[in-house]
């Protein structure tokens, strides 16, 4: 974000765009789950939350989901 001068919601929007593309191979219900997470973070940013903290929290959540997926 710092190097490219992006805002938190720019990153979120890009994530959301990738989420429903065919290149990303994850179960369909996980897509929905992630969309909801991203949407929630987007809302918090609009409300005035801090980009860094919110995105880090989102990443942590995604990592957790990823770990669970690879275990299955």
């Amino acid at each position: 974000m710092l190097t490219f001068g992006l805002s938190g919601s720019d990153v979120l929007k890009q994530m959301h765009r990738e989420l429903f593309s065919a290149d990303l191979k994850i179960p369909e219900d996980i897509r929905v789950l992630l969309a909801d997470y991203i949407g929630e973070v987007q809302f918090r940013l609009v409300e005035g939350a801090d980009d860094e903290i919110q995105l880090t929290a989102l990443l942590a959540k995604m990592a957790l989901l990823g770990a669970r997926l690879s275990k299955q």
């Binding site: 919601s9 429903f20 929905v32 969309a35 909801d36 991203i38 949407g39 987007q42 809302f43």
Partner: protein
Amino acid sequence: MNIRIPWVIKYRPKRINDVVNQEQAKQKIIEWLRSWPNVTKKALLLYGPPGVGKTSLVEAIAREFNYELIELNASDSRRREDIERIVAKASSARSLVTQSTKKIILMDEVDGVATKEDAGGIEAIKRLVERTVVPIIMTANNPWDQKLRPLREICEFVQFKKLTKTEMRTVLRKICANEKIECEDDVLDYIIERSEGDLRSAINDLEVLYEGRTKVTLEEARILLRPRDREHDPFETLRRLFSSNYAWQAKATLNQSQLDYDTLKLWLEENIAYQYQDLEDLARAYDALSRADVYLGRIIKTGDWDLLTYAIDVMTAGVAFAAKNNPRDKYRWVKYSFPQRLTLLSKSKEIRDTVEDMLKLIASKIHVSTSTAMNDVVPFLRVIFMNNPQVAAKIALWLGLSERMIELLAGSNKSQVIEYYKNLKKTLQQAQSITTQRASGKSEASKSKNTTSSEAGKQDKGSKSLLSFVKK
């Protein structure tokens, strides 16, 4: 050599029998026209998917039964004035062409009457239907459109069905033979599959493919005919949404639907419970819907429309992939139903309006706000109206309530109250006419009104006390 006319026009049904299938609709329309104006509803609403012959059938019927057709379709502007102009035309002008005085007004695609550009259009149609001297036929793809609600009660509904593949194949084959083209079976199948029961679009496709060509392969057809976006009705939308296998598929259903996200929300609220049976699946689906609802609320609160996409994601894909325990439920065929919330709202509209009018009457009479009238006055009125019809009638007269309002207040007691109310009104009117008669008679003689009222007769006295009550 000869003028090129589009095949859809060239092969437009000329006679009633040329219209494929739709036997039920044909019969219903013809019978209705025969018995006009002795019909319960003065207008017909033909509804069904596009390209199945709604307009064509009306035109064919008009031709065969020698009616003059006055058309008003989507390309005309349909504001109040435009519709009123048509009425004038229909009731006065005599046709130069057909010599017949019989007319039909055909209003094509009434669901396309825009609320903004055609302001007052629907209301004008409603008024037109109420006092028409000419049969009116309307067509629509989606009769459940909110805008059409005022028309729904005053129109007889006639359903047009989607055409089956066999029916379409026969028609297309006939055209092929006539145009001397050899259409491969697989190409024809592809065209039919693509058209989803829309004969008009199928004929158009056929023409596009064989314009200046005699042979086309399936591959070429695939390239030439790009997939088209189609508007699905609510039922089809739900079916596609629930049965989608990919998230993007579920999301696409909303783009191809007549529903917007707000209405889809209501339809889902109503129908998730029919589709899913497992309790956990149900909970998941409704949770997804409620998340979508939260997003929609946040959009209104924050004004950040970027959130809309997330709302749509969870509403469509979220609901579609909620069936984890019973994934087969996704494909189950169930009968979806119109959102109860909307039906209830439209049903109770009349009552809510009457109550509001009544509150205004009370409020202006006793100088309180309408909410005070609702909370502090109406409950007592209810008790009085249900237990003491005589007093109730006097109060009703004083407030100037309508019969419908009395009915709402008195419940099962209404007939009694209304009877007293009518008697009261009659005696009052009599009394008034007597006083005015006497007043005019006396004024010629003595110019004194006071004496007239003091000399009022016995009958007059009773109503006088009434009048004084009313004045209180």
